[in-house]
């Protein structure tokens, strides 16, 4: 099979396929060719805001119709662009083929009409997108105000670890009547292309098609980025990714540009003493914990890594933690292949750490971790492993603790999701965890469902921030005139 791919440039419905420049990829040693963006810079950005007007000639229902139809055209069997994106992802992604197949076979499901409607209604309110909403009366007699949410001209620097990121970007852009330039990631340059290409084939002249572009260039290329991040053509930048990717962009920040970041995060787990009442309960807890660690091969920011367990620190307590490790490792091996599999590119640095930990049985108990099957490392003291930051590839670290206080104080601003057992503990800790920096609290096992994570992410509301909240005020002329006297 060829490992050569072509990543077209798509600008507002125009597909440019003259792939002149070769780029190296990430995992899998793939290479791809893409057009020279510098040659097309003059038409990449929307420098005339008046061209946003066409988005306001269609209704919210029209937009939903469009997206639902798009979803119907994304079937894996019939859409060659989707298959090509899948083929490339199989080489670059940390997700196994079976998991990717599940994702790429379920693209149409992501365009469910009522889901999309509910999502945007919760985040912006459909009436705000559709018209001017009265804000009630004010202190000034006769003064009233109406607010409407307008789409903005945005650059999206998206992440490539899962296809959902491309889908979310396309859906959010359409529903908010925004204009998007998607900067493609080198580890998944084709999913967004597949979506937008299908849009062009479906409705080449539709305003939504005309307000989305996708391009790949090497991040940090000043000749391109000084144009892309110029406030004359862009109002908001939505940037996923690590320090380096954000660092590039901050060079171009100036008044007139709003930067919305979706930083890399880590997630964890807190398990209360109730989990250890009997072995059946513990087995159920272990299965749910395995899900939080193993789903999506622990490639996501929502994946659990360090697990605090309120077992106590005496000999019996540590034994309980070890039992949880044993059961969780077993449950991890039982996860269905569309959710989780042994990791195809197990981090060898992590492997060395696990191998060394296994020889320190006074400090750690290791279940698994011999090849790529994943592992549970149980600390024998109330201290996570020193390499907790690189836990990945389905490796969790169970830390026995005397009280959940230790767990609460270990949460910081990089903590995204915390899976908690039982529910009563979640309720008890939720305010305190929020003070510490946690951003999403879920029932143990629910970390990867992401049902309510679509419009609230990392404790911000990205969709709400993607739009411009414009206010129109009205007052009685006589009253205003009176103020001048």
């Amino acid at each position: 099979m060829s490992q050569e791919f072509t990543v077209p440039l798509i600008i507002r419905g125009e597909i440019i396929d003259d792939a002149k420049i070769e780029h190296g990829g990430r995992r899998g040693g793939i290479r791809f060719r893409a057009p020279d963006i510098a040659e097309h810079l003059n038409k990449l950005m929307l420098n005339t805001p008046s061209k946003m007007a066409d988005l306001y000639e269609i209704s919210f229902e029209d937009i939903l119709d469009y997206l639902v139809e798009l979803g119907q055209r994304l079937h894996f069997e019939s859409n060659p662009h989707v298959r090509e994106a899948f083929r490339l992802s199989c080489m670059t992604s940390g997700l196994s083929e079976s998991i990717l197949k599940f994702h790429y076979s379920n693209l149409p499901g992501m365009f469910d009409r009522s889901e999309m409607r509910a999502m945007i209604d919760r985040s912006c309110g459909i009436e705000y997108l559709e018209g001017w909403v009265d804000q009630g009366s004010s202190r000034f007699p006769g003064l009233s105000a109406r607010t409407r949410a307008f789409g903005a001209r945005c650059v999206h620097v998206i992440a490539g670890n899962a296809p959902i990121v491309s889908i979310l970007t396309v859906v959010r852009n359409a529903l908010t009547r925004s204009d998007a330039l998607i900067k493609l990631p080198s580890n998944d340059p084709l999913t967004a292309v597949a979506l937008v290409r299908t849009m062009v084939e479906m409705a080449p002249d539709h305003p939504i098609t005309k307000h989305i572009s996708v391009a790949y260039w090497k991040g940090g290329d000043d000749a391109i980025e000084s144009v892309v991040y110029d406030p004359r053509g862009v109002e908001k930048i939505i940037a996923w990714g690590g320090f380096d990717s954000i660092k590039h962009i901050t060079r171009y920040l100036q008044p007139g540009i709003d930067l919305i970041t979706q930083d890399p995060k880590l997630s964890g787990t807190i398990i209360g003493k109730e989990a250890f009442v009997d072995d059946d309960t513990l087995k159920a807890v272990a299965r749910r914990l395995a899900l939080d660690i193993g789903a999506q091969n622990q490639e996501g920011c929502v994946s659990a890594r360090v697990i605090y367990a309120e077992t106590g620190l005496d000999e019996e307590g540590v034994k309980r933690a070890n039992r949880l490790g044993e059961l969780t490792f077993a449950a991890l091996q039982e996860l269905p292949p569309h959710l989780s599999t042994p990791h195809k590119a197990f981090d060898q640095g992590l492997k060395s750490e696990i191998d060394a930990a296994r020889l320190q049985d006074e400090d750690y108990r290791v279940f698994g971790g011999r090849n790529n099957e994943g592992a549970l490392i149980v600390s024998q003291e109330d201290y996570p492993v020193d390499f907790s930051r690189i836990l990945a590839c389905r490796v969790g670290n169970i830390v026995p603790i005397e009280s959940t206080e230790t767990a609460v104080r270990s949460v910081n601003a990089y903590t995204q999701t915390i899976g908690i057992y039982p529910e009563s503990l979640k309720e008890k800790l939720r305010n305190r965890l929020a003070f510490q920096g946690a951003q999403r609290l879920v029932s143990l096992g629910g970390a990867a469902t992401m049902q309510h994570n679509m419009e609230r992410q990392d404790a911000i509301e990205p969709v709400r921030r993607m739009v411009k909240w414009v206010t129109e005020e009205q007052a009685d002329g006589g009253m205003l005139e009176g103020l001048s006297k």
Partner: protein, 472 residues
């Protein structure tokens, strides 16, 4: 020849003061015999006394060494010499750290009472005073410190060994016999400390220079502190533990701050004095210089800036290694160093902190693996040994047969290509060699603390920067 071979076979440690050129005249059959018999001997001797090796052997189901590849599963991951939990340091559990170290050496250290120790430096001093060990730590540039349990006798052997290498590398007696005819020692670094580089200082002063008067150090009175070097890794671990972690670390930092800030203040004066003395006392003389390339470059750059060139005599020698250490050096960095130093007699090595043997670079740019190191190339994903054929690339590992009290068998974080199995190097030396470049697997895989002590002051500087920020 045969006496030499039989001596090595009977006692691989004797390699340290045997004529070095002989090592590269052995046939491949002789080398193989040395490897298999040496490995059997070390495994049998060391397994009962080293609990971690015993555990690994049980884990891997290796009871006897029948073929050379049976050793591969017994190589430690390079993380073993730093596998203690950082909580030992944060909670001042130096009794536990002592017990951990005891599991890695046959030297008895069980009598050491480290209960009341609070800093790594004090712990190392205590071990120096109460045991046969002089434990060396790595630089910790990117993370935790490794602790290598080398004995006092082994440290002396390594310095004798370097002397033999300098004497014989380019042919028997081709270089100066420094222990016989002492030379001034110039080291652009710390005089004291327990990092691998500093551990050799005292012995070099004695054996090579014949006394402190005949030496010049950049920081003649200062100690390279293990506590400071460990800060990077500890901070990272602390941050990962949120509020709980950061509160734990701050007291350790505060306690050390004053003395470190004092040292920092003196630094420019120390550097100035170092250059003055290098010119006045040692300018034009034949000297022995040792430091890693990256440190040499910093020194040379500063010297050239001051208008100093060709500072030492043409009969001087340089023992170095370590590559660019991820630093952004100009293309002609090597030329700049040589222009500053004024001589070209360079002994360049590839080595790791855990092994005593060094792989020296020949005139063709290859690093020759001495016969006391049993080299392995491992498949980077499966860890399985790769064939002993020329031109194969993989993760480098090795068992050094010289250390007889700890297991110097480990897997590095380096990707190398080897050769010399089928066709010897054109320099005429027999046996396997490493063909540059030596490349690190990802940062998270290797860490920067593989090669002997390199980058050490850098770790110090960063910690000091951090402290300076903290005190603002």
């Amino acid at each position: 020849m045969s006496d030499y071979f039989n001596q090595l076979l009977a006692d691989p440690t004797s390699f340290h003061n045997a004529p070095y050129d002989e090592a590269f005249k052995l046939t491949n059959d002789q080398i193989s015999q040395l490897h298999i018999e040496g490995a059997r001997k070390r495994f049998a001797e060391l397994r009962p006394g080293i609990s971690v090796l015993d555990k690994l052997a049980r884990e891997q189901g290796v009871e006897a060494i029948n073929t050379i590849d049976d050793i591969a599963p017994l190589l430690f991951p390079h993380t073993v010499y730093k596998s203690y939990p950082i909580s030992y340091l944060e909670r001042s559990r130096f009794d536990r750290l002592t017990r951990w170290l005891g599991g890695l050496t046959t030297t008895d250290i069980s009598h050491v009472d480290a209960k009341d120790i609070e800093t790594i430096d004090d712990w190392l001093d205590l071990l120096d005073a109460k045991t046969d060990l002089t434990v060396a730590h790595t630089s910790g540039t990117t993370g935790k410190l490794s602790f290598v349990p080398r004995t006092k006798a082994q440290w002396r052997q390594t310095i004798v060994h370097s002397g033999v290498i300098i004497r014989d590398w380019w042919g028997r007696n081709s270089g100066p016999d420094i222990p016989q005819n002492n030379m001034p020692i110039i080291i652009p670094g710390y005089r004291y400390g327990a990092a691998a580089m500093q551990r050799g200082n005292g012995i070099q002063v004695d054996l090579y220079a014949g006394g402190e008067d005949n030496t010049l150090f950049m920081y003649p009175d200062a100690r390279f502190s293990a506590d400071v070097a460990s800060l990077g890794g500890r901070l990272r671990a602390a941050e990962a533990r949120g509020e709980a972690g950061v509160q734990g670390i701050s007291q350790v930092l505060l306690d050390r701050r004053e003395s470190l800030v004092e040292l920092e203040k003196r630094r420019p004066e120390d550097v100035r004095k170092f250059f003055d003395e290098a010119q006045q006392r040692f300018g034009g003389r034949d000297v022995y210089v040792t430091a890693m390339w990256a440190i040499l470059y910093d020194w040379a750059e500063e010297g050239l800036k001051r208008g100093i060139k060709n500072i030492f005599g043409p009969g001087s020698v340089l023992l170095t290694g370590g590559g660019k250490k991820g630093k952004d050096l100009p293309d002609n960095w090597r030329e700049q160093v040589l222009e500053f130093l004024g001589f070209t007699n360079i002994y360049e090595m590839y080595a790791t902190s855990e092994m005593m043997g060094l792989c020296m670079m020949c005139e063709n740019g290859n690093y020759h693996i001495p016969p006391v190191i049993i080299p392995f190339l491992l498949d980077p994903t499966t860890g399985k040994p790769l064939p002993r054929e020329d031109g194969i690339k993989g993760r480098f590992g090795g068992l050094d047969l010289m250390p007889n009290t700890y297991w110097a068998g480990l897997i590095t974080g380096d990707e190398v290509t080897w050769s010399g199995w089928e066709k010897p190097c054109e320099c005429g030396r027999t046996g396997p060699h490493i063909v540059p470049p030596v490349r690190r697997y990802g940062e998270s895989e290797g860490g920067d603390d593989r090669i002997v002590c390199a980058g050490a002051p850098e770790a110090h500087d960063r910690a000091l920067e951090f402290l300076a920020e903290l005190s603002m």
